[in-house]
C-alpha cells in the first residue's frame, strides 16, 4: 500500500512537472510594461508609476530601471544611439478623467549606473481634452523601417486609438500633424512592421482586477501605417476587430501591453504583463513568450514546459538518439495470423530492457527514425540557478530516466556524458523560432567563443554549427508522444 502511495505521488509529481512552464524569475513584478530593450548589455522595461525592471541575462528580472515622470504604461525605442521613452501622464481609468497627455524624453543610456544616464526634459507629443472620444494614455512607438518615419499610437477604451507622427530626430510631434483614428475598444496598442505589413497590437478585456482581469492581446494589420487595420476575417479594428495573439494560460491570467523584441533573424520575443501569476501571489508580472508568425499573423509561442520529448530534426524528420545498438523487441512478423486469436497490449520497450547494454562512458548521438525507444526519449528540464537568456532558462537535456546528459565537445560535436554536472557545455538554450520550430544551442562550446547550434549535417548525423534560419538543418521539433 505504501508503495502504491509512493508511486502515485511520483506519478502526480511527474504529471505536475510535465505541465509546468516557468515564468520569469527574480522579482518580475510590473504592470503595463514597455517593450523590452537592450542597453549597455542589459535588458530594461518600464512600467506604470515609475516602476521598471532590469535584467542581466533576460531571464532573472529585478527592479532597477529608472524613469522619471510617473504616469502610466510607457514605451521605449532605440533610435540611433539614443533611447526615446514615452509615457502617459495620467491613466485614471474609466472612473477618472480623460485629459490625457503623452510625454516623450530621451536618454543616451537606460543604465542608471552609466555616466551618460540623463533624461532630457519631457515634452508633450499628444493630448486629449477630457471630452473627445480619446484618452491620451498607453503610447506605443514604431520607427518605420521602410522610410525612417516615427509613429506613435495611443489611447484606451475611452473612444479611439489614435496615430500621430513624431520627428525621429527630436522626438517631438511633427508640426501640423493631425491625429488619425485607427481602432476602437482596445488599449495598450503597439505598432510593428514585418514583410510589407504594419501590425497594430491592442489589448482587449478588463484590466487591473487580478485573477479576474480578462485582458487579452489582439492584432490587426494594414499595408499602410495609417490603416485601415483589419483582422483575419476582414473586420476593421475601427469596428472592434482583432485576432487573438495571447490569452491566459499556465496559471498566468490577463496578458496585456504587447511589445516585440527581435533578437535575430527567426528569433523574436514578445513581452507583456500578466495581471495575475497564480504562482506568485496572483501579482502582476512580466511575461515573455516566443513570438511566432503563422500565415502572416503574430501569435505567442509556448514557453517550453519541462517534459519528455522526441527531438526531431526538421531536415528529414529523424529523431536525435543515443548511438547505441538497436535492441529488438520480442516477436517478429505479426501479419498472416489467425484473426480469431485474442489480442492484447504489448508493453513498450522500457529503459530497464536496454540500459545495461549501453556503454557507461560518453556515448555519441545520431539521428534515425523515431520508434519511441528509450534511447530516443529526452527529458528537458530547466536548471535552477544556471541563469538564462531573454525569456528562458538554461535547460539540461538527459535521456529519460537517466542522468545521461547531452553536451557539446571541444570539437563542436554533440555527445552524451554519463552524469549531468551543470557544466556550461551541458546547459542548453532553447528558443522557439518564428516558424514554431526550435533552435537548440549549448551555452558554451569548450575552448570556443562561437555561438553554435545543434544542426543536422546529414540525415543521420547531428553536429554543432552556425545557426541558419533559412535552413531546415538548423531547426528541431520537440514532440510529445
Amino acid at each position: 500500500m505504501k508503495l502504491i502511495v509512493k508511486i502515485s505521488t511520483i506519478t502526480l509529481f511527474s504529471i505536475w512537472l510535465a505541465g509546468t512552464a516557468i515564468a520569469q524569475v527574480g522579482k518580475p513584478f510590473i504592470h503595463d510594461p514597455s517593450t523590452i530593450v537592450e542597453s549597455d548589455g542589459k535588458y530594461f522595461t518600464f512600467g506604470t508609476g515609475g516602476s521598471g525592471l532590469m535584467s542581466e541575462d533576460g531571464w532573472t528580472w529585478n527592479g532597477g530601471a529608472v524613469r522619471p515622470g510617473g504616469g502610466a504604461a510607457p514605451d521605449v525605442l532605440k533610435i540611433g544611439d539614443r533611447y526615446l521613452v514615452v509615457y502617459g501622464a495620467t491613466g485614471g481609468g474609466l472612473a477618472g478623467g480623460h485629459n490625457g497627455k503623452i510625454l516623450a524624453m530621451w536618454n543616451k543610456t537606460l543604465d542608471p549606473k552609466s555616466p551618460d544616464f540623463k533624461y532630457s526634459e519631457a515634452v508633450v507629443v499628444a493630448s486629449s481634452d477630457g471630452i473627445e472620444d480619446n484618452d491620451s494614455i498607453d503610447p506605443g512607438l514604431l520607427l518605420d523601417p521602410t522610410d525612417g518615419r516615427l509613429w506613435l499610437s495611443y489611447g484606451t477604451y475611452w473612444g479611439y486609438i489614435r496615430l500621430v507622427e513624431l520627428n525621429p530626430k527630436t522626438g517631438k510631434r511633427v508640426e501640423g500633424n493631425k491625429p488619425l483614428n485607427i481602432a476602437i475598444d482596445c488599449e495598450a496598442t503597439d505598432l510593428i512592421y514585418r514583410d510589407g505589413w504594419y501590425y497594430l497590437l491592442g489589448t482587449h478585456g478588463t484590466c487591473c482586477d487580478g485573477p479576474n482581469s480578462t485582458y487579452n492581446i489582439v492584432v490587426g494589420r494594414s499595408r499602410k501605417v495609417t490603416g485601415p487595420y483589419f483582422d483575419n476575417i476582414g473586420r476593421e479594428m475601427l469596428k472592434g476587430g482583432g485576432k487573438l495573439v495571447v490569452a491566459a494560460g499556465d496559471r498566468l491570467i490577463g496578458p496585456g501591453h504587447f511589445g516585440r523584441t527581435v533578437l535575430e533573424d527567426g528569433v523574436e520575443k514578445m513581452s507583456c504583463h500578466y495581471e495575475a501569476d497564480l504562482d506568485q501571489s496572483a501579482r502582476s508580472v512580466l511575461g515573455i513568450h516566443p513570438l511566432l508568425w503563422k500565415n502572416g499573423w503574430p501569435v505567442a509561442g509556448d514557453n517550453l514546459k519541462e517534459g519528455t520529448y522526441e527531438i526531431e530534426s526538421e531536415r528529414r524528420g529523424y529523431a536525435l538518439q543515443l548511438g547505441v545498438d538497436f535492441t529488438r523487441m520480442p516477436g517478429g512478423m505479426r501479419f498472416n495470423r489467425n484473426n480469431d486469436e485474442p489480442v492484447k497490449p504489448v508493453p513498450s520497450q522500457a529503459l530497464a530492457d536496454v540500459v545495461k547494454t549501453w556503454p557507461t562512458g560518453n556515448i555519441g548521438v545520431n539521428l534515425s527514425d523515431y520508434m519511441f525507444r528509450p534511447h530516443q526519449k529526452w527529458t528537458i528540464s530547466p536548471v535552477a540557478g544556471a541563469g538564462g537568456y531573454l525569456g528562458g532558462p538554461y535547460y539540461k537535456i538527459v535521456i529519460t530516466g537517466t542522468g545521461r546528459a547531452l553536451a557539446a565537445t571541444q570539437d563542436a560535436e554533440p555527445i552524451t556524458v554519463p552524469t549531468f554536472t551543470g557544466a556550461p557545455e551541458q546547459l542548453w538554450r532553447i528558443d522557439q523560432l518564428t516558424d514554431g520550430t526550435y533552435r537548440i544551442m549549448p551555452k558554451e562550446v569548450p575552448n570556443s567563443k562561437e555561438h553554435l547550434a545543434l544542426v543536422s549535417s546529414g540525415d543521420s548525423t547531428p553536429t554543432l554549427a552556425t545557426f541558419d534560419m533559412n535552413s531546415d538543418n538548423s531547426k528541431w521539433n520537440l514532440r510529445v508522444h
Binding site: H31, D32, T48, A72, A73, G91, G92, G93, L94, A95, G96, G97, H98, N99, S127, S128, D129, G130, I131, E132, D133, N134, D135, I137, D138, T156, Y157, W158, G159, Y160, R162, K178, P179, L180, N181, I182, I184, D185, C186, E187, A188, H204, G205, T206, C207, C208, D209, N212, T214, T226, G227, P228, R235, L238, K239, G240, G241, G242, G256, H257
Partner: protein, 244 residues
Amino acid sequence: MYIKRNALLLAAGCVIFAALRSQAQSAISGGRVDKITDNDTLRTITPFFIPATTSKKNPNSEGFIQRWLLLEPINKSIRSNLVFTNSYLKTQFDTAYFPNQFTVIPKDRDKVKVGEQELAWHALESPTFNVKLFRLAYGLKKHTYAVLFWAVTVVNSPREIRNVRLAVGSNGGSTWWLNGKETVILDGDRRMVMDDCVSTRLMLNKGKNIIRGALINGPGLSDFCVRLLNEKGEPIKDLTVSLQ
C-alpha cells in the same frame, strides 16, 4: 491600462461633469480624423445623432441599422461591470420598468415614468455604424454611467427571409429581441465589437419586423451596433428601417 473600479463609479460621474465645464464637442469622427474638441458648452447629442426622419432609409453599406428609438437612460445601481452575468441580465431585463416595454413602438418624445424618473423616447439616426448611447446620455445631461437603455427599431423586409441571424456588438451587457423573441444575449464586461454575438437562425417576416434591445452598463462608453446577416453570413441591406 484602464481601471474599471466599482467603488469610484458614482463619484466618477460628478468628477467627469465637473471637468467638462467649458468645453464643447466641435466635431467627432465621421471619417478618420478627429478634431480636438474646444469646449462643451453646447452639451448636445450632435454630431453623434441626427433626428430621425420618415424618409426611406436602408441599413448602411455594411448592413448596420442606424435609425432607432432610444429611451433616455434608466438610472441603476451597478457596483461593477463584472456583475453582468447571464442571470444578472435576465433579472435586470425581465424587470418591468414601464408599461408594454416588450411590445411598445413609441413615438418621438413619448414619455414614460420609471420610478422617480420621467424619461423620453428619442427618434434618432446615428451617422456612424454604432449607436453611441454614452453620447446620447451625455448630450441630454443624463447619467452616463450605471445606466440601462432601451432601443427599438422597425425593419421592413421586401420578402420572407429564412436563416437570418441578428448580429450584435455592445459595450455593456445587452439582450436583443426580434419580433418579441429573445435572440441574442451579450453577457460579461464587454466592449463593442461588430458581430460579437449572433443569434441562431431566425426568420425575417415579409413586411414589418421589430428589433428591440436593452443594454446595461456601469463605467464605460455605452454603445451598440446591430445588423442582420443572411445564411451566407453576408449583411442584408435591401431592407428599409422605419420607426413605426
